[in-house]
Symmetry: C2
Subunit: 181 residues, 2 copies
């Protein structure tokens, strides 16, 4: 649960950061930004601002806007109705993002798991993305990501997005964000 | 057929225009830009610079870079192996682009069909896209587009791209571009 004020502040940050990154969006799109706190009630630690450009039953494109050293908790996209899970390409547009997925763990990772939640971060194959760099994540693989010290704007190009079906490692995660009015 | 020099000049224009639009790309991506002349051998009239970010068997994302008042000829994306044709969302990032598709023809369209090729432009439902504006085109619908007086950078988010299977209205179109060395 987050306050309306915290939600609105993150939307304002997202709008300013998109502008700084040179990404032109409409006022209507800004108003429609989704703020996710993953039910962990601490946006500065875990969270994401999500601007969905398009999400049909075939493909999807979004901008993800992150505050400095903010984490999107570890999750995966399972198969849906006989289709493989969501395939997604992350392209860093501004700032820096560190993506972690299954595979050889980094000897000296650039990021730390959010304090108090370490047990839920189990994949440590590190992919560092600077602006203009991208990585395609295959379906159903555990992954999480954290922004660098300036935050990040990351484009996501993918198959259909069904966030409510994502599986999270942390049993405390709730995908719906509740606003405390 | 176009000359190597014309090809290289369009790539240089595309790189400069991407930079002007605030789109960060790598040198490797610039080197991999595809220049399409649609076999019509007149890039200033018909053509497109295409930077493919990702194109898997499920989804695709690209940047399209256009010179001023350049046209991508009328075409459609037919069904492939039982799947509906390509679905694509065009999002204007910089400059301006006019998209024409099936439907109510514009009473006073902003664009003209390229001179000498008028007969091959039969759909005139006009969608004008400024930066931050987008339009999703359904599969297998005839469409074409032309940039405004400053050119354009347009993001395309879509299902798998199979350009060689596109159907063009103009029988003179050849999808492969030949370079006259």
């Amino acid at each position: 649960m987050i306050t309306r004020r915290a939600r609105d502040a993150f939307v304002a940050y997202a709008a300013a950061t998109l502008a700084k990154s040179g990404t032109v969006v409409t006022d209507e799109e800004i108003a429609g930004i989704e703020i996710a706190d993953y039910g962990l009630s601490d946006l500065e630690k875990h969270g994401l601002a999500i601007l969905v450009y398009v999400n049909t039953d075939r493909c999807c494109a979004k901008e993800l806007i992150m505050m400095p050293t903010q984490t999107c908790p570890q999750h995966r996209h399972p198969p849906v109705e006989g289709e493989p899970g969501k395939e997604e390409t992350f392209r860093c547009r501004w700032g820096k993002v560190f993506l972690y997925e299954e595979g050889e763990p980094a000897a000296d990772p650039a990021c730390k798991a959010p304090a108090g939640h370490e047990a839920h971060y189990t994949v440590w194959n590190e992919i560092a993305l600077n602006p203009g760099e991208q990585y395609t994540l295959l379906p159903n693989r555990w992954h999480w990501f954290q922004s660098g010290p300036d935050g990040a704007v990351v484009s996501e190009f993918s198959t259909t997005s069904r966030d409510h079906l994502d599986e999270f490692t942390d049993p405390g995660v709730v995908r719906e964000t509740t606003i405390d009015e």
